[in-house]
């Protein structure tokens, strides 16, 4: 029994009736809007994507949760990031050389958090621009650096360029 018919009540293996939400892009067709859905479930009938805020149907033998959107902020990664950020700032706010600042062990650990840290770093950049561009560039590779030459050195413009990149690439929910 497919679960990919929005708005049509369906009986599940448990006997419960569940109605898939009516949302643009539901079904097998990919959505062009990365913010429409945050959870993905797969069944024999195809793939269904749900908003992050919605409840997935009760897990039966035909529904499996398979993914989270790039904008999802993982609580553990967020906790790790802010712990590392605080230690990095304490040790490097007085330093001048970007090479020194970026080679700090806590900064390297931020890079080590990987792609799950991208939406969190972008969120922090939007609030408090800081020297986090190198980390983004390392994690986002092979994506190209979004900063234009005439923006380099202007920390506000550099942060704005990365935030726009985040929006364009699905890492920030608008």
């Amino acid at each position: 029994m497919p679960i990919t018919s929005p708005g049509r009540p369906q009986r599940q293996s448990s006997g419960m009736i569940w109605t898939p939400p009516k949302r643009r892009g539901l079904g097998n067709e990919p959505s062009n809007d990365p913010w429409e859905f945050d959870k993905t479930a797969i069944s024999l009938g195809g793939t269904t994507r749900y908003p992050l805020s919605s409840q997935l149907p009760p897990k039966g033998d035909y529904v499996a949760f398979v993914g989270i959107s790039k904008s999802f902020i993982d609580p553990q990664t967020e906790k790790d990031f802010y712990e590392l950020l605080e230690k990095w700032k304490a040790e490097t706010d007085g330093l001048s050389s970007v090479r020194q600042i970026s080679m700090n062990e806590h900064y390297q650990c931020i890079v080590g958090l990987g792609p799950k840290a991208i939406p969190i770093i972008l969120q922090e950049l939007a609030k408090h621009p800081d020297y986090l561009f190198w980390a983004l560039k390392c994690i986002a590779r092979p994506a190209s650096d979004p900063i234009q030459e005439n923006e380099r050195g202007d920390i506000g413009a550099m942060a704005a360029a990365w935030i726009q990149w985040g929006k364009d690439n699905g890492y920030i929910a608008e």
Partner: protein, 177 residues
């Protein structure tokens, strides 16, 4: 704790400090600048800022508009200079602003503007300071702290900034310092 820190910092004298002075001292200690022992050696001359750094402050002075960070690693860097953190490339960067390597470190501060590059490990430049027309020197501290005026470049020598090593000069611009 603070009293202990100040005891160590001030060579054994317990100082009567305001909260803001305690903050200053913590910063100087974090950098290992214990040689800045008295207010006659330095003074804080700006609020904190993350919008410019010591290299921009040295190269552009007041005209850096407080909104440009110079660094070969991803920030503003003169167009024709290779993006490398080593001394020869910093010299080229400052040459693009009209500075030339010089030997004289004193004299005629009103007509000649000097900067000094601080060398850290592996011939990397870790800091820069600029001489004012008064003869004092000015440094932007770190990526987000204040500017300070200091009596000599050597007062900024520390593990985090390296040593004042290469001096460069140019004719002092008529407007600003």
């Amino acid at each position: 704790m603070v009293q202990w820190l100040l005891l160590g910092f001030n060579g054994g004298r317990i100082m009567d400090t305001s909260p803001s002075e305690e903050l200053e001292l913590r910063k100087l200690m974090a950098l290992g600048l214990q040689q800045l022992r008295s207010k006659s050696d330095y003074s804080i001359t700006s609020p904190e800022s993350i919008k410019y750094n010591c290299i921009a402050w040295a190269a552009e002075g007041e005209s850096c508009k407080m909104n440009r960070i110079w660094d070969p690693d991803g920030f503003y860097w003169p167009k024709d200079v290779e993006r490398q953190p080593y001394l020869p490339f910093y010299i080229q960067a400052f040459e693009s602003e009209g500075f030339r390597v010089c030997k004289d470190r004193d004299g005629n501060c009103e007509e000649v503007e000097r900067i000094v590059l601080f060398l850290g490990n592996e011939n990397c430049v870790w800091h820069a300071a600029r001489q004012l027309s008064s003869g004092k020197w000015t440094s932007k501290l770190g990526k987000k702290w204040e500017d300070i005026e200091h009596r000599t470049p050597e007062l900024m020598n520390c593990n985090e900034y390296g040593e004042a090593t290469v001096y460069m000069s140019r004719k002092r611009p008529k407007i600003g310092n």
